[in-house]
């Protein structure tokens, strides 16, 4: 695989093909302007040089490189590099003071807008649940908090009892 073109070579081939195609196109336009109008116009003539150049370039590439699945690997590497390049660009943009400030302002704005709406919705839900004789989220949360506190107190009691028991065991004559 040492002689297979890498992603850079592929890219280089693509660039070359693009440049040659553009030159052929520009040549055709100059010639068309200079020459007398043809009695039977060919609609494909305008694109033919560009397509021919492209086909020739890719044919050359495939002639140089056997069409093996390695080509797919190189394509995958090319995509990886492309994603990595975008990642770097985005990383740089997001690493600026302006972006951080803008993000902070947007978040702040969202919170300022959300807070009163959230309060109203919460109150409405609370009232509805109360009318339906159902427990609300805040009531359940309060019960859960109490359970946590009770567990904590039991833990502390358990610790204190085992400490006292240990002291008693240590004092007992053998």
């Amino acid at each position: 695989m040492a002689d297979a073109p890498g992603p850079n070579q592929l890219f280089e081939q693509w660039r070359k093909q693009f440049e040659e195609g553009a030159q052929a196109w520009s040549r055709l336009i100059t010639q068309t302007a200079a020459a007398a109008p043809s009695p039977t116009p060919d609609p494909t003539a305008f694109w033919r040089p560009v397509l021919d150049q492209g086909v020739q370039a890719w044919a050359k590439l495939f002639a140089q490189t056997p069409a093996t699945p390695e080509l797919l690997t190189q394509w995958k590497q090319f995509l990886d590099q492309w994603i990595e390049a975008w990642s770097k660009v985005l990383g740089q943009a997001m690493g600026t003071e302006q972006f951080a400030k803008l993000m902070g302002q947007s978040l702040d704005q969202m919170l300022v807008t959300t807070a009163p709406a959230k309060k109203v919705v919460d109150q409405q839900i609370e009232q509805t649940l109360q009318a339906l004789n159902l427990p609300s989220r805040s009531q359940l949360t309060a019960i859960a908090k109490q359970i946590v506190e009770l567990e904590d107190r039991i833990d502390r009691l358990e610790d204190s009892i085992s400490a006292k028991l240990r002291r008693l065991t240590e004092r007992e004559p053998r």
């Binding site: 069409a67 699945p69 797919l72 994603i83 990595e84 951080a100 902070g104 919170l111 807070a115 949360t141």
Partner: protein, 368 residues
Amino acid sequence: MRRAATIKQWQEELERGVRRLQNLHGLMTNPVEPKTGQTPRVEIYKRNKSRLYRYESTRTHRTPVLFVPNLGISRPYIFDLLPGGSFIEHMTNQGFDFYLLDWGVFGPEDNDLSRRGVRDQDPAADGPARCSRRPGPTSFRCWATAWARPSRRAFVASHPEVQVKNFVNMAGPIDFAKVGLFGLWLGKDKFNVDRFVDTLGSVPADMVKAGFKLLKPTMDLSTNLNLWWNMWNDKYLEGFQALNKWANEYVAFPGEFFRQWVRDFYQDNKLYRDELVMGGRPIRLERITCPVFVVGAKEDYIAPPECVRALIDKVGSREKEYIELPGGHISLIAGRGRGRPLLAEGLGLAGPALVGRTLSLTRGVTAA
């Protein structure tokens, strides 16, 4: 001859393509829930949502490992993902008795939990003392990872009575002035933490997810590209499903804890500046005198290596070593690379042996 080889290669690629489509069909129509966290364990202590688990080993090392992962953000089964690719399984196979603290999933009833409250509910905070009341060890090797690390270091620094034989800090930020994008976005002049917590009460899991996705917006794209590329490989697919399950299971932050966390660490950098007070005790990192082993990851964008390395300059230990492994924040432990064996080897060493041996570990990594 060459033509025949090319045809064979194309045939293989075609078979891969067919397997890709078959596996994609399986993923779409019959998704299998990956079985994570299969290493046998015993719950030895619990407090509120937190649990302390013990993973038993053949115990070739006398001092066990107390492993303290991140609070909030994600679940700790990443450390015991799949048999054969599990960090905990690897450590127990190496003869370490392993204690894992699982902080649990906090609910709205925990929104008032402050950093001190979290410390009080941390079964490993007074773990050695508590565990010694039950049959168990009296000293530990303490291993802190992710965002629990600053508090774990603070705990080790403020409780000299707790016997910590050596301390490993894995990809844990210390100098928050160098913590990267999160440090910039959560800065005092940009992020109003009070308004955030007062409005939302907690940091919802979806918001935690959005924050991490924003750190690397192209991550999902490259993950999906790699998934398609490797979809023919059943082993890869199994690992991917487990990792993907973990990567999309975010955990909310208790509001008060988040407020203190952002203020003290991201905005005021108090731990690094020796201004942090926890449970009424001032925290000075120079009071850590046990052997310290710090591990950073080269491509870590959550805790960049330079902010992790800072611990080395702050601790009072004579034996201290920094090692930088290839890969990112998660691949340090979850990857199938050389990280796990090297870290286990590093942890097995303590005292005077630490420095010399970890230097050889560093060489091993460089050579890899």
